[in-house]
């Protein structure tokens, strides 16, 4: 069968576009805003995340770390070398406790020694020194850099010499920030950093010395999360006795912040995409409605539906591509200029690189969604009857709603198929964007469900309205009657518009609610009250005194937290002896140094994941165990763990699996028991307090004067880094969600405005019959207000349900956002009326004869 050539189809498509530039600019803009939001959000958040991950890596100074208590075996060494050959960089950090003294003094001081290779350490972050210097320039085999605490305790200054083991070292600087301080061991004594060679020269590396080795690994640049996981898995297999962690596990607050940021940012990307698609679908629908006459003429000249579809398919591709290109340009501009705009709020400046993947994704997603969402209007071409040229009568049935529904379903099987294709396509796009097939499926299924519910709500509303007007019609003022009747007049796309606006409102509200919840949570974990100094080795008799010193210090801004620690070991789990236990990623030797603590109340920053916390005053031996530790030991709720303290067994039942936020003194406690079963054992206390970072030195001096054996570990700088990162995440989430919401509103407004062309005829007739502009505006306002209210109501209800579900998934507490919900409902009605007015402004001003002449 002969068919319209692609050249002719292209010519007609192009001419149509040229003849209605304004209208097509609208369609292109809808696609562009969606793609811009997608590219901008994805591009910027990608760059931002990369930058933040570098900071997260600095908390560990590496991508991966393996902590061991023994030198690797030759076989393990061989495996490590093989990994190095594959591009992995490795450096060893040795940490141990040693005695140090001033050159001309015999008073020894316990110090926490750390030996590194300054040529490569740290892989990420930097060791800050005072006076300002670069670590590798000042740290040599005969020099050390030390914590200020050491200078205070030994009454020394930079340039003096210190004796450690057989070596004599010159103090080259004071450590003001050590990037991986939180990842290292919290041993007693001030920090002293020495080179590995210096440590060997001092004769401190000998058989039987209690040192612990941390192997730090730097992965090849731009390793993905999956690659990090794969390397980690290899290391776990290679070093079964080591405790292997990756940079995402170093700080729960940071990990949580990053995970939630990633989650909400990919949600925003998807939402931007669907909103853009809604805009396109509505615009194309309005466009094809106006092409009815042309389509009917072509059919009367012998054109088949497929030939006509070819024209509009080409048009769609052209619009999608143009919109996509414009959107990518706008998105790239957002990515380029957002950091400049946010410079005052965040100090992360992701370097601007054109992310071709984000550009490609944006273009493809734009074109694909345009094609997918124009599929139903394109298929409608088949239903255009050529008789339309001769007779415009619209046939209507008055069958009961269920019969009419099935009849429409039967006649619209292709549309149904198109809907399934759209959902499959969206799920594919969503899976690609979020890197998870599960997310894609859930998103598409949710979208499908909501769409069905919205269409059902639209059908119910229109039926109720019709019945209501039949009953009370003439009693109502005519403007109201006309406005309400407009909603269900033949050919009005009320149901489609209601579904589109409802869906849009739902997505915008979901983003807003999620953003609020995530930001609320992140603000809690980045609170400036969390401990940033830790106190080690407080004797039972010193507890109250230490508390007094802390509270008397002007720099301490929150109530100090003190926790008791009892040294013990694990001898038996569920009847299996320590030497036969199956451990995962946990050195067996560490079973010998288990620290127990007690608390009758749930400690601050700790959440119970499984089981229940005990009642205060209980005497039953039970234990709450950290989630990761429970996995390493292979215990579950109800398991029996036998601890041995001072050779006295404590048989405790696992009552709760807990997770800490990593921000409190109790966060380092993996085994918490009730107070009663631990009474009578020797206790050492540890403490934490939040101190103004500038006043840490003053506190150290006061503590040293009152309690010289108590060590103060300063992690203020490291924690400040984390706090800053988390705060920056919240700012970026807020900004990007505001951007997505704004883009969504522009698209929704354009969907409503797109219906203005079909109003021209109606306005002209009304004007000819003597209706004033204000009367017509009133009629339209009533129509749009009802539409906005119903769409707002349905959308907000679904958004609340979706937000509740997502927040439960993310373990965020849910609060019914009724003020937001009410505001969104009212806002949607106002937006619908305002857009309707703005869009109808030109139509209202049109002279009736201009239109009637065209008839």
């Amino acid at each position: 069968m002969p068919s319209l050539s692609w050249t002719s189809a292209r010519r007609i498509a192009w001419r149509e576009m040229r003849s209605s530039k304004g209208k097509f600019a609208f369609v292109i803009l809808s696609v562009a805003v969606g793609v811009a939001a997608l590219t901008g959000v994805r591009g910027f958040s990608g760059a931002f995340r990369t930058e933040l991950l570098v900071r997260a890596r600095s908390i560990m100074a590496a991508d991966l770390a393996a902590r061991m208590f023994a030198q690797p075996t030759p076989k393990e060494q061989e495996g490590l070398e093989a990994m190095e050959r594959e591009g992995l960089h490795l450096t060893t950090v040795t940490e141990m406790v040693a005695m140090a003294s001033a050159e001309h003094s015999l008073d020894p001081l316990l110090v926490s020694l750390k030996a590194i290779d300054p040529a490569v350490y740290p892989f990420y972050g930097a060791v800050d020194l005072a006076p300002k210097a670069v670590l590798r320039d000042v740290l040599h085999d005969n020099t050390i850099v030390v914590a200020e605490d050491l200078l205070i305790r030994l009454n020394l200054k930079v340039g003096n010499r210190v004796k450690i083991g057989d070596g004599l070292f010159t103090i080259a600087g004071v450590v003001t920030n050590e990037p991986d301080r939180l990842s290292g061991s919290f041993a007693a004594g001030p920090r002293v950093i020495v080179t590995r060679k210096g440590l060997e020269d001092a004769g401190l590396i000998a058989e039987g010395n209690r040192s612990n080795e941390r192997f730090l690994f730097e992965l090849p640049a731009r390793s993905s999360d999956q690659q990090v996981a794969a390397w980690k898995e290899r290391l776990v297999a290679l070093l079964p006795e080591a405790q292997v962690t990756d940079y995402r596990e170093t700080n729960p607050a940071l990990t949580q912040g990053l995970d939630r940021a990633t989650g909400i940012l990919s949600l925003m990307s998807l939402v931007a995409l669907v909103l853009g698609a809604i805009g396109v679908a509505m615009a194309m629908r309005a466009h094809l409605q106006q092409r009815m006459d042309t389509i009917a003429i072509m059919k009367s000249l012998g054109a088949g539906s497929s030939q006509i579809m070819r024209i509009y398919l080409l048009q769609t591709i052209l619009l999608g591509t143009l919109g996509g290109l414009l959107g990518v340009t706008m998105g790239t501009a957002v990515q380029r200029f957002l950091p400049v705009l946010l410079r005052r709020l965040i100090n992360v400046q992701p370097p601007f690189t054109l992310d071709w993947r984000a550009v490609g994704t944006g273009l493809t997603a734009g074109l694909l969604t345009t094609l997918l969402f124009t599929l139903p209007p394109l298929l409608d071409i088949r239903k255009v009857r050529p008789i339309l040229i001769l007779r415009r009568a619209v046939e209507q049935t008055d069958e009961p709603i269920h019969k009419a529904f099935w009849a429409r379903l039967r006649s619209n099987w292709a549309q149904l198929l198109a809907t399934i294709v759209i959902l499959l396509g969206l799920s594919l796009i969503a899976a690609t964007l979020s890197d998870s097939a599960q997310t894609g499926r859930t998103f598409a299924a949710g979208l499908g469900g909501v769409l069905i519910a919205l269409l059902a709500a639209a059908a119910i509303l229109l039926t109720v309205l019709r019945r209501f007007l039949r009953g009370a019609g003439l009693a109502l003022p005519s403007a109201i009657r006309h406005g309400l009747a407009n909603l269900y007049r033949p050919g009005n796309p009320s149901a489609a518009l209601l579904a589109a606006v409802g869906l849009g409102v739902m997505q915008i509200t979901t983003v807003f609610l999620m953003q609020q919840a995530v930001v609320r949570e992140l603000r809690i974990v980045s609170s400036p009250k969390i401990p940033n100094i830790f106190l080690v080795d407080i004797a039972n008799s010193e507890v109250e005194g230490v508390r007094k010193v802390l509270t008397s210090q002007p720099g301490v801004v929150a109530e100090p937290e003190l926790i008791p620690v009892i040294s013990s070991r694990i001898t038996n789990v569920n009847g299996v002896g320590a030497k036969d236990l199956r451990l995962t990623n946990f050195p067996r030797r560490m079973l010998q140094s288990i620290q127990l603590t007690w608390s009758d109340e749930l400690p601050p920053g700790t959440t119970v994941l499984q089981g229940e916390w005990w009642k205060p005053g209980t005497t039953v031996a039970q234990v709450a165990i950290g989630q990761r530790m429970s996995q390493r030991l292979g215990v579950t709720l109800g398991s029996h763990i036998v601890f041995s303290a001072q050779d006295k067994p404590i048989d405790a039942v696992v009552a709760a699996i807990i997770k800490s936020d990593g921000q409190h003194a109790y966060s380092r406690a993996e085994f918490i028991l009730p107070k009663a079963p631990l009474q009578g054992f020797p206790v050492v206390w540890y403490g934490g307090a939040h101190v103004d970072p500038k006043k840490v030195g003053q506190l150290e001096r006061a503590m040293f004067a009152a309690y010289p054996t108590v060590t103060v570990i300063d992690v203020a700088q490291a924690l400040e880094t984390i706090r800053q990162v988390v705060l920056q995440i919240t700012v970026v989430i807020q900004f990007l969600s505001a951007f997505s919401i704004f883009a969504g509103m522009v698209i929704l407004a354009s969907s409503i405005a797109g219906t203005r062309y079909r109003r021209i005829r109606e306005v002209v007739v009304l004007k000819t019959l003597g209706a004033t502009r204000s009367r017509i505006a009133t009629v339209f306002s009533i129509e749009f207000a009802v539409l906005g209210l119903v769409a707002g109501f349905t959308g907000v209800i679904f958004a609340t349900v979706v937000a509740r579900f997502l927040q439960r998934q993310m373990s965020i507490e849910f609060h019914l956002p009724w003020i937001t919900d009410l505001a969104m409902m009212a806002g949607t009605a106002v937006m619908a009326v305002a857009t309707g007015w703005i869009a109808s402004h030109r139509v209202l001003g049109q002279k009736p004869l201009e239109v009637l002449r065209e008839e």
Binding site: S5, L301, A303, P386, L390, Q396
Partner: protein
Amino acid sequence: MNEAMIEVSNLTRSIRNGRRTVEILKGIDFNVAHGEFVAIMGSSGSGKSTLLGLLAGLDTPTTGDVKIAGESISYLPEDRLAQVRGKKIGFVFQSYQLIPTLTALENVLLPYELNLGSDGLARAKELLSSVGLGARMDHYPVQLSGGEQQRVAIARAFVLRPPVVLADEPTGNLDSANGTHVLDLLLEMNRTSNTTLVMVTHDPNIAALAGRRILLKDGLIVADERKAVE
């Protein structure tokens, strides 16, 4: 009598509007011979345009059948029907129905592109010249007067040499001078192409030019008169 080009048997068409069913055509039977010129007359609402739409295969009857050159077209699938329309029927509408984004020449060429795929440029140019628009081929519809637009529509209707041309009030939107010119052209083309012409009109003067007049009233044929052979 020549063989029948159009055969209409027991044709009815009703539309549902809510609970009401409106019968537009209530049972129409007639044949049109090859080369015949038939005028269909009737007052507004009598069913003229609906009948023309069914003859052209633009709509589906409720019952009954229409045959064009022996082929039943009423219940053909949409794509096959499009082919029949394209190859066997030319159409001239009251409001011209040109594609606004195509030039006069492109409008005339469109049936070629849709139905034959072959190069009809020479034929299209020849037809446009013969309707007096040789100098305005590259003009868009909006740049042409009503009469000129209708002449383009006539050229388009005849471009594929269809055996049947259907016209719906072709002069209805034109002043009398332009109307006469357009009608002369239409009849001239019909004569030279030996086409079967069915024209809906309510102008008795135009109907008088036809060889046969069919009068419709309330969906039924109330008169079917042939002009006496002179």
